[in-house]
């Protein structure tokens, strides 16, 4: 009994100044502590996705006593467990399968008896996912991040109640700083109940046990096109229904969206643009989806075995207890923050999908680092004008900066420089020549305003464009930079040449 009452020396972190300049860091006076009390953390991160786990590691590296609470039972969030990573595994392997069936013969490789082993393909995906999630656990250990498996609820401005996943009794944790990184969830379609078997979201689309004969994808954004590509390559008859007049979502340049639609149509995907889904009838054997022209008029019924709902994602705050501390959300459920990721309660910060900006893993990572730097140094940096987007179809589409339509809307004079991969030597040797690189530059200063790529490895190539935008480079800067021959990146250089002068090879 005595032991539990003996005052314990305050934890080191309670007395240590975090950063004299950071406005939200609390400088606590020494106080009596008891063995029964959970020691206060400098930072607790709620959510172990790409934003949360990066923030936690960064905070621990900054010398802060850090914990990360995750309810999934595995780190990595949607991205690693049911999003970017498993979908990339399926995209890559389905592309190989499709290539073997339809392409390698032209390359002088005769293959017979090619069969799809979907179970093995899914196992390969799971191996990648498990390896990566375990990798984050290792990084937590290496950097000294405490990993708490459970569901977190804010019960006070500095207090979090955690219901452990193992069913134990709830525990209360205290933190000087709290970072919310709870991510997002798929937006449901009214009238179509998600069962992840026949009416699926991206989560179900990476776990189907057989190839559906017919698949309808509601929503022609990045997720819909990527998952539609996977099942189309594996043999499904895929129809994409999109309310807007173009695929790719609002961030994709109109030229690129049209080009991409042509390429994907050639691969066998069907598109119904300017089309509204009115509802669906789910029968034992099939699903009937009723659609009509977005502006009203022509109605049609489409049949499918599986319907993928990919109309977007919404912030995930269920059970977080925001109401307990009065943290506000906007009309779309995003937590309202200021320029330093602070809610109205300055020591509660928010990053990633659950707040403003594009719902992208790499954007969340940048914010995680910046939020921790604001805590530890009083200064952080994310350039929202230089966040790349990538669609991992084949060919890939990638872009950064402004679209031509956005530049036009500003009234600024601009130049366009483009270069097709059909004129690129490496693409020709690879027999993979679809797509192009497009530069948009300021006519007066030659400064790059936007870069849009469709082509093999566009997702890797865009990194050069992001760096150029970050540094405020001109097209001539890129054009005068030597690019190795023969590489796909020469197309990037040639497009830059086309923007400020003329390309050599086109």
């Amino acid at each position: 009994m005595l032991k539990s009452f003996i005052p314990r020396q305050s934890a080191r972190s309670l007395l240590r100044p975090l950063n004299p300049g950071a406005p939200s860091a609390f400088y606590l006076v020494p106080r009596r502590g008891f063995a029964s009390e959970t020691p206060e953390h400098d930072v607790i991160v709620i959510g172990g996705g790409p934003g949360g786990y990066v923030a936690a590691i960064k905070a621990a590296q900054a010398g802060l006593k850090t914990a990360c609470i995750e309810k999934r039972g595995a780190l990595g969030g949607t991205c690693l467990n049911v999003g970017c990573i498993p979908s990339k595994s399926l995209l890559n392997n389905s592309h190989i399968y499709h290539q073997i069936l339809h392409d390698v013969k032209n390359r002088g490789i005769d293959v017979e008896g090619v069969k799809l082993n979907l179970t093995q393909m899914m196992k390969a995906k799971e191996t990648s996912v498990t390896g990566l999630t375990k990798g984050i656990e290792y990084l937590f250990k290496k950097n000294g991040v405490e990993y708490i498996k459970g569901t977190a609820t804010l019960t006070g401005e500095h207090e979090i109640k955690v219901n452990p996943l193992d069913g134990g009794s709830p525990e209360t944790y205290n933190a000087k700083n709290i970072i919310i990184a709870t991510g997002s969830e798929a937006t449901p379609f009214p009238g179509l109940e998600i069962d992840e078997q026949r009416i699926i979201t991206s989560t179900g689309a990476i776990a189907l046990t057989e190839v559906p004969k017919k698949m309808i994808v509601i929503g022609g954004g990045i997720i819909g096109l990527e998952m539609g590509s996977v099942w189309s390559r594996l043999g499904s008859d895929v129809t994409v229904v999109e309310y807007l007049g173009a695929i790719g979502g609002p961030g994709m340049d109109a030229d690129m969206a049209k080009t991409m639609q042509k390429i994907l149509s050639k691969q066998g995907m069907k598109f119904k643009l300017n089309t509204k889904v009115m509802g669906g009838d789910i029968n034992t054997d099939s699903i009937a989806i009723n659609v009509e022209a977005a502006k009203g008029g022509k109605q049609e019924t489409l049949g499918a075995d599986v319907v993928l709902v990919a109309i977007g994602r919404r912030p995930y705050t269920t059970g977080l207890g925001l109401e307990n501390v009065g943290v506000e959300t906007d009309e779309r459920g995003r937590i309202i923050i200021d320029q330093e990721y602070r809610t109205k309660i300055p020591h509660i910060r928010v990053i990633g999908d659950v707040t403003f900006g594009a719902m992208l893993a790499h954007k969340a990572e940048e914010e995680g680092i910046a939020a921790v730097e604001y805590i530890s140094k009083g200064y952080g940096h994310v350039n929202y004008g230089a966040i790349p987007s990538v669609m991992y179809t084949h060919p890939e589409a990638a872009w950064v900066g402004l679209t031509e339509q956005e530049v036009k809307a500003t009234g600024k004079d601009y130049n366009i420089g483009s270069f097709p991969f059909s004129a690129n030597s490496r693409a020709k040797t690879n027999l993979d020549t679809e797509g192009m690189v497009k530069f948009i530059t300021d006519k007066e200063t030659d400064r790059i305003l936007g870069i849009h790529i469709i082509g093999p490895n566009a997702g890797e190539m865009i990194a050069e464009g992001v760096l150029a935008l970050e540094y405020g480079a001109s097209a001539e800067d890129i054009a005068r930079t030597s690019h190795a021959h023969p590489t796909l990146s020469e197309a990037f250089k040639e497009a830059a040449m086309a923007a400020f002068s003329k390309p050599i090879h086109a």
């Binding site: 609390f26 320029q339 300055p346 405020g472």
Partner: protein, 109 residues
Amino acid sequence: MNATRLLRASTVGRTPMIQFMGKRSIPASVDHTPRPHPAATTKSLPTSFAEYRQKAQQHGPLAYKTNSSSSIEPSAGQVFDRNDLPSRFWRLTLSKEEMDVIESGGAFA
């Protein structure tokens, strides 16, 4: 003005727009006053942000302006009562059990 074309035409040769910016450092002065997030769709913050800061206490009233190099010590003549701070900063009261432990000198198990 077309910067790159002018530079190309000049006798000193072309100077790229990309410049080595030197080792990065934290700006000497950072304005921490809450402003809308750059990716926010509205151009103003809810009034609750300012209201919270008016009444919040963090090593003194949060509403006081500080900058990155300011001391956390209150300025001369500025005082505040410990009881004005949130309850977690108050002096802890001793419970009956704690008093018993202290008075017994730890002589009971």
